[in-house]
Symmetry: C2
Subunit: 320 residues, 2 copies
């Protein structure tokens, strides 16, 4: 199988690529290295079946560089994954989270790739959905530009399914964590504690409670549902959406305390803010219903808090 | 009140502008005249409070031309409204139905315009929603690129509400018809019958049954809900979505027969296709629940079939 992975040097992209290579697939990783790094894919360099290209897939017509090549599957993960940053830079968010999707869909059409896997997010559900939130939720009104750009991407993929006969697997992730983090709360805490071990400032009141998933479970879930679910003929059977996270949630205070315990032996003073949200556009509580993907036989190895705690330790070691 | 109307020379834009001017508002109509024509706004030219600019609002930073000007409300109607055309030209659909929205949102932020009215579509609901379809419908997976670009626009508006404190009114239109049509089934039938009165070829089997609304009712509904609904403080209270159509539906066969009766006295042979859909991405059956807007006191003057029949007569006269 020949697979094109966009965002292949990112947290999830690296892990998906690793598993694909283990299965004997040939993998072309494309990444602009704006968040991911070449070190993330260093394990694979020189390995048979692995190629890397530093391309920006938000650029119009980037797919022309691939003219004449054939792929069975595109795993499209490239995006700006720093939600709070995108909130202040709408044009950047649009280019990196939406144009990347549109241009990768154009690649799928031009290269006649039938299968399309996409990393969406729980942020598409907006501020106050029913919880745990199932995939079939009405009134999906995102509050972050990141969530909006992901929902916009989903909409385009849906039209592509009708227009080009594409088969799509859309995964709405919880907060994905692991060793090679490039952003997010664990990334921030580790970086802050290294700069200033005396005091840790937390955005918001620390009561934000979200669902986390370990990147290994996330990558395993992506491939399992892709391999096990059988797309049919109708639009609904060819545009499949799966929440992908653990059942549980973890509070920011738990993450702050564990980070401090691991990195400074508990000697850091933690200072919480007063706002219930970390920043404008933050969704302070997320919890996902994952029955659709567990019905296929997927089960996460780590629960939400295990995933985060393990990520703190591994990311700390990775960045030392 | 100062109002900026994008797509102001289109079918709906003309009617909304007319009503705003009647209320004493100052109106700046912006239109690139790709579908609308200058003749559509000829009634208003020279009238106090009316201005027209031929600008393409999909262009990056077009709002800079308005630097220093103030508006109370943006009515954003500019879009590619020819759904079947957009299905074959994804880049065009993206530019004209999505980038127009994104750049007009940027205008709202740059000019600090608090209120934003947007013309969405029943096409956001996709192929097989529950019918009549209410605004709170799960699994909105559009099958046309037009519907996808409108849903993508809605998502961005939703994030804008959170990010910039915008108050938004989103109207999901049925098929809007009237004298100054620029596209669609009535437009096509009138044009075809004029070119070839002997025979009328219908796309699809003619059994497509959709909800139609007369442009006068549509414009009245837009302004009524804008004036009567009271946005609150929460995101859900500031991002308001209304279906806007009649309760009924009309079959394409009825439209073909009435067009032939009116234009050629019934002497045309009507030839139907065999497909249940008119083109890839067509949604053959639409029916909207309109309880949300009727609860505000709005009531359409014409039912679905009255609206269409009146539009055939008026559009025929207008284009003679």
């Amino acid at each position: 199988m020949k697979v094109l992975v966009t965002g292949g040097a990112g947290l999830v992209g690296h892990e998906v690529s690793r598993r694909l290579l283990e299965r004997g697939a040939r993998v072309l990783c494309v990444d602009d290295l704006s968040l991911g790094t070449r070190r993330h894919v260093a394990d694979f360099e020189g390995q048979a079946g692995f190629e890397f290209e530093r391309w920006d897939v938000s650029q119009r017509d980037w797919h022309r560089k691939l003219q004449g090549r054939r792929f069975d599957l595109i795993v499209h993960l490239a995006a700006n994954s720093d939600i709070s940053l995108g909130q202040r830079q709408p044009e950047m968010e649009l280019a990196r989270t939406f144009s990347t999707s549109f241009e990768t869909l154009r690649a799928a059409a031009a290269l006649q790739v039938g299968d399309f896997v996409f990393s969406s997010t729980s942020a598409v559900y907006g501020a106050e959905p029913v919880m745990p939130t199932p995939e079939s939720t009405p009134d999906m009104h995102p509050v972050s530009l990141y969530g909006a750009a992901k929902l916009a991407s989903e909409a385009m993929i849906s039209a592509w399914v009708e227009n080009y006969g594409t088969r799509a697997w859309v995964y709405r992730f919880g907060n994905v964590v692991g060793e090679k983090l490039t952003h997010g709360v664990v990334f921030d805490f580790v970086a802050k504690l290294r700069r200033q071990p005396e005091e840790l400032e937390v955005l918001g009141d620390g009561r934000q409670t979200k669902t986390y998933i370990h990147v290994e479970d996330c990558a395993a879930g992506i491939l399992l549902a892709y391999e096990r679910s059988r797309p049919g003929k109708t639009h609904a059977e060819r545009f499949q959406v799966f929440n992908l996270s653990t059942r549980g949630t973890t509070c920011v205070r738990e993450i702050a305390e564990e980070s401090v315990r691991l990195l400074t032996g508990g000697r850091t003073k933690i200072r919480y803010g007063t706002s219930p949200v970390g920043w404008v556009g933050d969704v302070p509580r997320t919890s996902l219903a994952i029955d659709r993907i567990t019905a296929l036989g997927w089960k996460p190895r780590y629960d939400s808090t295990e995933a985060v705690f393990r990520a703190i330790r591994d990311h700390d070691a990775w960045t030392r």
